[in-house]
Symmetry: C2
Subunit: 675 residues, 2 copies
C-alpha cells in the first residue's frame, strides 16, 4: 500500500514538473502556450472587432520558423540558446463572415503579419463549440421532436452527434454538418443505439438547421448488452487478473525538460498541434562510436486519417471521415487515466488548444511517457560450440513510449511513439472504442437477402464495414537534410551455367528514386526493402547510412479511384510517397479538408514529379486496416493494433546496443518480505 | 534488496514445483519423462544388443494416443482421470547398421510393438553427439592441420561446427555432414571468423572424414569488434537503463499443474518434443456467457523451419537448413536466464530429451511462463457526447506468455506463445544471435565488382543474404473437430444505378474451401480475411463461430520452384495450406528431413486435394522473413520480430473481456518509502 503511494508520488512529482514547464516556451517548436493563445485572441479580435459566432477560431497553431532557422538554433551554442530564440508566430484559420481567413500573428511584435482570404474549395477544421451548438438544435426543432414521439421514444434520452458531410460532386458547397441521433435508454453506449433513418442537416455558419429527413422507422437496438461501464455491469464478471506493482525507486530513466525529452540514447522534442495531435521533432540518437548525437527524424506526425464507411445508402453514404482535417486529431485527444491508459511508471503532460473563442482549453494528462518493460529480449546468444564452456549473454529490452489517445466520436485511437535503444522508432496505432453501428430490422443473418453493408452483431445492430488509413508525415533527416530514397529489390537469379549445384538464389538490386513517380509504392507487389539514406555519408565498409521503413499493417483502397471519397482520400492510393520537403505540404488531405475536393492532397503534389534525389525529402507512409466488424468488437472493441517501424540500416557501424549493460538490480525501499 | 530475494523465492518456489511435477506424467500428452526414456533405452538396446555408435537414438518422442482417445480422456469425469490414462507409447527413430529403424515401444507393457525399416529418401534428425564427434575429427586430420598452419593460424583457436548438406540431385545419398571451421582468436564470437574456403565432409554412420577441400585462402576476419560478452567489453559503455522491479506479492496469476497451465480465461497443455520444441495442446477459453470452457486449438507447434542462404558458391550453396527436421528445434532449446530472457515474474520449467545413447538430457529452465504487463490497453472509451458528464472507461491489458529459445548454431530463435484474455493467441518469433558470415578479401564495397551474395559488414566480413520460414501446424478445433476454412473476400462494388451519391463501396463475399486446392494461399494478392469456422455452430444472430488468421510477417520464396532446396522447402510455396487432420502428417518438411528430396512435404500432401469442408482440419501458416543483413546486425543481432495472431471472430457473442475487472491494487510487503 505504501509503495503504491510512493509510486504515485513519483508520478505526481513528474506531473507537476511538466505541468509547470509546459506553459512557457523554451524551444522554437514548443506548442503555443495558454498566454500565447490569449494574445492571439486579443490581437485578432481587436482587428476584426468581432467574436463568436461572427468570428471563430477554427485553428490556431504554431507558425513554425523555417527549418533552417530551427536547425541552426538547435545546434547552436547551448549557452546562448535561451536568448537567441527565433521570433514566435502563430498561424490562424478563422471563419469571419462566411469566409475562411488565414492570419499570421507575430507574437513578439504583437501584430498581424499577413491576412489572406482563402477562396478555394473546402472548409477549415470544425470546432467543438460549433458542433456542440448545432447538436442541440434538433431538440428545439418540431419535426424532430415529432419523429422521436412517433417512434415512442423518450426525447430526454436522445443525444445527437455530428458527422462531416464529405463532397459528392456538388458544384456549390455550404459549410454544413449532418447530425446522427441516438436513443441512449440510460446506457452510456449511445453509439450502439442509433435513430436510423433520420438525418438532420445544420449550417455551421448560420448555426441553424437547413434540412431534415425522416425516411423510415427502423427499430432502435435495445440498451441491454450495450453498457461497458464497470459500475453498471452485472455478474458474472471475468476474466480476473492478479495485480502487479512496477517500481522504479529512483524514478524513471527519462528526463523531461519542457517539451524536450531524453532517455537512454535518444533525445527528441514532443510537440502538440490541435490538428495533428502529437508531433515528434528533432529525434536524434547518440552514437557511442562517433561519440555524438546523430539526426534521424526532423519531424513525424499523423498528417491525415481517412475513415470511409462502406454503406452507400442515404443515411450512411457520406460517412467518409477525415479525422484529422475535419475533427482535429489533437483537439480530440483525451485525458489519460493513470494505471490504466498508461502503466504506473508513466509521467504525464498536459496540452492546450484554443477554442473557437480563442480561449485556451486544457487537456490534462494528454500525453504519457513511460519506459516499457514488456519482457522482450534486446539480443541474446547461447554459445556451446566452444570447448568446455557454455556462454550465455542476454540483454533484456526496454523502450520509451510516448502515448496519446484521440477519441473521435465513437472510436478511440491509441497512438504510440516507441523509441528503442537499438535505434528503431516504432509507431503503434491501437483502435478501440465503439464501432460505427447502423440500426436494422434484422435479428438473424438468414433474414438478410441483400447486402447489409456490415456484420449483424446482435438484434437490430449492424457493424458497418469500413477502413482506417493513417498517413504519417516522416521528415527523416538521416545525418543531415540531403537524403535519397532507395529501393532494395530482391530479385531471383537463375544459375544456368552449371557453376553451382544450385539452380537459383536471390540477390539485391538497388534503385535510387530520382523523382516522386519512382517513389509511389504499393507494398506487397514485389519484395523490396525501402530506405531513406544519406548518399553523402557512408560507413567504413562503404554502405550508405540509412533508415529503413518496416511496414506491417498495410491495406490498399478498394473504393473506385474516381469515387468522390477516394478523390479526397487519394493520399492513400499508395502505401508510400516521397516528396521533396516543402513547408506548405503538411496535411496529406489538404489544409481545408472539410468538404475538400481532392485538389490539395499528397497524391496531387506528387504528380509534380519533382526531383527527390540527394534532397531534403519527406517519407509518407499510410497504415491501413480494412475492418469487417465481428461480434467480439461489440459493445466495445478490444484493441486492434497496427503500425510500422523505422529501423537503422547501415546507419551505425555495428549493433548500437552491443555495449548496453543490463539494468542494475533494483534496491527497493526497506521492505519486510512478509505481507 | 529484500524484495529481490522475495521475488526470487517466488520464482524458485515455482521452479521447484514444476521441476518435481514434470518428471512424472499426468496427462496423455505429457512429454516422455526421464524414467520413460531410460525404459525405452533398456528395451531397444536389449532387443538389438547394441549401443552407440552401432545403434543410435536419433529421435525418441511420445507416440501420442489417437486424437479421439485424448479428447475422450480430456473431457471425461475428472475423478477417474488419473486412473484412466491411455497406454503410453514411445516412437523411436534409431540408426542401426546404416539403416533407419522406426520402433514403437509400449511403455506400459515394456515391449516393442512394431519395427519398420525405413527405405525411402532422407535421413533422421541429427544427434548432438554425432555432430560433436565428427566436429573433432579435423583436429586429427593432417591435411586440415596443414591448411591451418599454411594460413599462419593457431589450431588451438580453431573450432569446427556442423552443417547439413542438403540434396542437390544426387542419385545416391550417404549420411554426411559438412564442417565449417572458425578461428576464434580468443573471441566468443566464433561465427564471425570463418575459415573460408575449407570444407570438410564427414560420414555420420562411419564417423569418419570422407572428403576434404581447401580451395583458396581467404583472410579470416579479425577478432576485434566481434566480442559480445559483457565482461570482455571495453568502455565506452551504453546506452544505460534504470532498473525496475516488478512485483507480484501473492505470486503470479497462473497455475502450473504438471504440464497443464491455466490463467485468466485460458487453459492449455504445454508439451515438449525434441524435434518440435514447445507443443501447445488442448487450448480452451472460458466463455463467461456460456459458462464453460470452449475448445480452440487442439495442437499448435512449429512443424518446420527452413533457412536457405543465397550464396551459390562451392563453400556455401548447400546451406539451406531445415532447422527442425535436421537439427531438432526442441533439442536446440537452451536454458533461459531469469531476469533477462524472461522477466522477474516468470516461472520456469525444465525439458528432457534422450541423447543418442538413450540417456535423458535435461534442459534446465527450458520454458518460462510469465504474465506480460506491457502497458497496453485492452479496451477503452472516453464518452463526452452525453450531457454534463465525461465518462472514461479503460482496461489495461495483460497476457500470458510461454517462451522458449532455440539456438541452432549461430542463430537464436525466441518463440513466444501469447494468450490474450480477448481470446487471441499471438505467436511471436524473435530472431537474434549471430548472422551467417562469410569471410572475404573485401574491405570496402567499392572493391566489389561481382555479386557478393550479402552485405559487407566490416573488413573481410559478408553477412550472407538468407530467408527464415517458420511453418506452424495449427490444428484448430473451433468448438469441436468439424470445421471449415472460409475466405472472406473484400470486393469492390460499383454503384452504377445512381441509387447513391457514391460510385463504389466494398463488401464481403464468403467462400468456403471445398478441397485443399481452394486453401493454398499466397497472401497479399487480394484483400481477404481467412478463418477457420465451425459450420455447425452459429451465434445468436447467425454468424458462424470462428477464429481468424491475422498474419503480419509473410514472405514468398524467391528461389526457383524447381531448385533443389525449394523442392525440399516446398511447404513454403504458399503462406497458407489447409489439410484434413491426419495423424501422420506432422512434419511439413517430411519425417526424414535430412537430405530429403521433397517427396514427403506439406505441398505434396496437399496435392491429394482432399475434401476439407466440415472436417477435422489443420491450418498451416508460414511466417517468412527475407533477411538482407545490415551492419547493425553485427557482431550480434538486435532481435528482429515477427509472427501472427489467431483472433476469435464471431466465436463469442460479444467482447469476451467486457466484464473483465482491472487488476486490484497491489498490497506490497510492509515497506518504508525511504530507500
Amino acid at each position: 500500500m505504501k509503495l503504491e503511494i510512493f509510486t504515485c508520488l513519483i508520478t505526481l512529482l513528474f506531473f507537476s514538473t511538466s505541468a509547470s514547464t509546459n506553459t512557457t516556451f523554451h524551444h522554437p517548436l514548443d506548442p503555443l502556450t495558454p498566454s500565447e493563445f490569449k494574445l492571439v485572441r486579443t490581437i485578432v479580435q481587436k482587428k476584426y472587432q468581432a467574436s463568436p459566432p461572427t468570428l471563430t477560431f477554427q485553428y490556431i497553431g504554431l507558425d513554425e520558423p523555417d527549418k533552417a532557422i530551427v536547425l541552426s538554433w538547435q545546434y547552436s551554442d547551448p549557452k546562448t540558446k535561451a536568448t537567441t530564440l527565433p521570433p514566435r508566430r502563430a498561424f490562424v484559420v478563422a471563419r469571419f463572415k462566411k469566409q475562411s481567413l488565414e492570419i499570421t500573428v507575430d507574437l513578439s511584435k504583437r501584430s498581424i503579419v499577413s491576412t489572406n482570404v482563402y477562396i478555394g474549395h473546402g472548409f477549415p477544421m470544425l470546432t467543438f463549440d460549433e458542433q456542440d451548438f448545432v447538436a442541440e438544435l434538433p431538440f428545439k426543432y418540431k419535426p424532430f421532436i415529432e419523429s422521436v414521439n412517433k417512434r415512442g421514444l423518450n426525447i430526454s434520452e436522445v443525444v445527437c452527434s455530428t458527422a462531416s458531410v464529405g463532397w459528392y460532386g456538388e458544384i456549390k458547397s455550404k459549410r454544413t454538418l449532418k447530425l446522427q441521433c441516438f436513443h441512449t435508454q440510460g446506457s452510456t453506449n449511445l453509439f450502439a443505439m442509433p435513430l436510423e433513418g433520420i438525418t438532420v442537416v445544420a449550417d455551421l455558419d448560420e448555426r441553424k438547421l437547413v434540412a431534415y429527413f425522416d425516411r423510415k422507422i427502423v427499430p432502435v437496438p435495445k440498451a441491454e448488452g450495450t453498457e461497458y461501464v464497470a459500475s453498471k455491469q452485472k455478474p458474472p464478471f471475468g476474466p480476473t487478473f492478479i495485480g502487479a506493482a512496477f517500481v522504479q525507486p529512483n524514478g524513471p530513466g527519462f528526463k523531461i525538460n519542457g517539451h524536450s525529452i531524453s532517455w537512454a540514447n535518444w533525445e527528441f522534442h514532443l510537440g502538440y498541434d490541435i490538428r495533428a495531435g502529437p508531433v515528434i521533432s528533432l529525434a536524434s540518437i547518440y552514437d557511442i562510436q562517433q561519440q555524438r548525437y546523430r539526426r534521424v527524424l526532423y519531424r513525424g506526425y499523423i498528417s491525415e486519417f481517412f475513415v470511409p464507411y462502406m454503406d452507400p445508402t442515404s443515411s450512411w453514404y457520406f460517412k467518409t471521415f477525415l479525422d484529422s482535417g475535419e475533427f482535429g486529431f489533437g483537439q480530440s485527444m483525451v485525458s489519460l487515466e493513470p494505471f490504466a491508459d498508461c502503466p504506473s511508471n508513466a509521467a504525464f503532460l498536459d496540452a492546450y488548444f484554443a477554442g473557437e473563442d480563442g480561449v485556451p482549453v486544457k487537456i490534462a494528462n494528454a500525453f504519457c511517457v513511460f519506459e516499457k518493460y514488456a519482457g522482450d529480449i534486446m539480443w541474446r546468444h547461447t554459445e556451446s560450440e566452444i570447448h568446455d564452456e557454455e556462454i550465455r549473454e542476454v540483454r533484456p529490452d526496454v523502450s520509451l513510449v510516448v502515448r496519446t489517445v484521440s477519441t473521435v466520436g465513437n472510436y478511440d485511437y491509441i497512438v504510440d511513439w516507441e523509441f528503442k535503444p537499438s535505434g528503431s522508432i516504432k509507431m503503434g496505432v491501437g483502435l478501440t472504442g465503439i464501432l460505427g453501428i447502423k440500426a436494422t430490422a434484422y435479428t438473424h443473418v438468414d433474414q438478410i437477402k441483400e447486402d447489409a453493408f456490415g456484420t449483424l452483431l446482435t438484434d437490430n445492430t449492424i457493424g458497418v464495414h469500413h477502413d482506417h488509413y493513417l498517413t504519417y508525415h516522416l521528415d527523416l533527416d538521416i545525418d543531415g537534410e540531403a537524403n535519397s530514397f532507395v529501393k532494395t529489390n530482391l530479385e531471383t537469379v537463375r544459375v544456368t551455367d552449371h557453376s553451382s549445384p544450385r539452380k537459383s538464389y536471390w540477390t539485391v538490386v538497388r534503385e535510387t528514386a530520382k523523382t516522386e513517380a519512382d517513389a509511389r509504392i504499393k507494398l506487397g507487389l514485389k519484395p523490396s526493402e525501402l530506405a531513406v539514406v544519406n548518399p553523402n555519408k557512408e560507413t567504413k565498409p562503404g554502405n550508405k547510412m540509412g533508415y529503413r521503413l518496416f511496414p506491417f499493417t498495410v491495406a490498399n483502397p478498394l473504393l473506385a479511384p474516381d469515387d468522390y471519397p477516394q478523390l479526397r482520400g487519394s493520399f492513400t492510393n499508395y502505401n508510400v510517397f516521397v516528396t521533396p520537403y516543402n513547408k506548405s505540404e503538411k496535411w496529406a488531405g489538404g489544409l481545408y479538408a472539410d468538404q475538400s475536393r481532392g485538389e490539395d492532397t499528397l497524391a496531387v503534389w506528387s504528380l509534380r514529379n519533382r526531383s527527390i534525389e540527394n534532397k531534403d525529402i519527406v517519407l509518407w507512409h499510410t497504415v491501413g486496416i480494412h475492418h469487417v466488424p465481428c461480434q467480439e468488437d461489440y459493445p466495445i472493441m478490444p484493441t486492434l493494433s497496427g503500425g510500422f517501424e523505422l529501423k537503422p540500416t547501415n546507419f551505425f557501424e555495428s549493433n548500437p546496443v552491443l555495449k548496453a549493460k543490463a539494468p542494475k538490480p533494483v534496491h527497493l525501499p526497506k521492505c519486510n518480505s512478509k505481507p
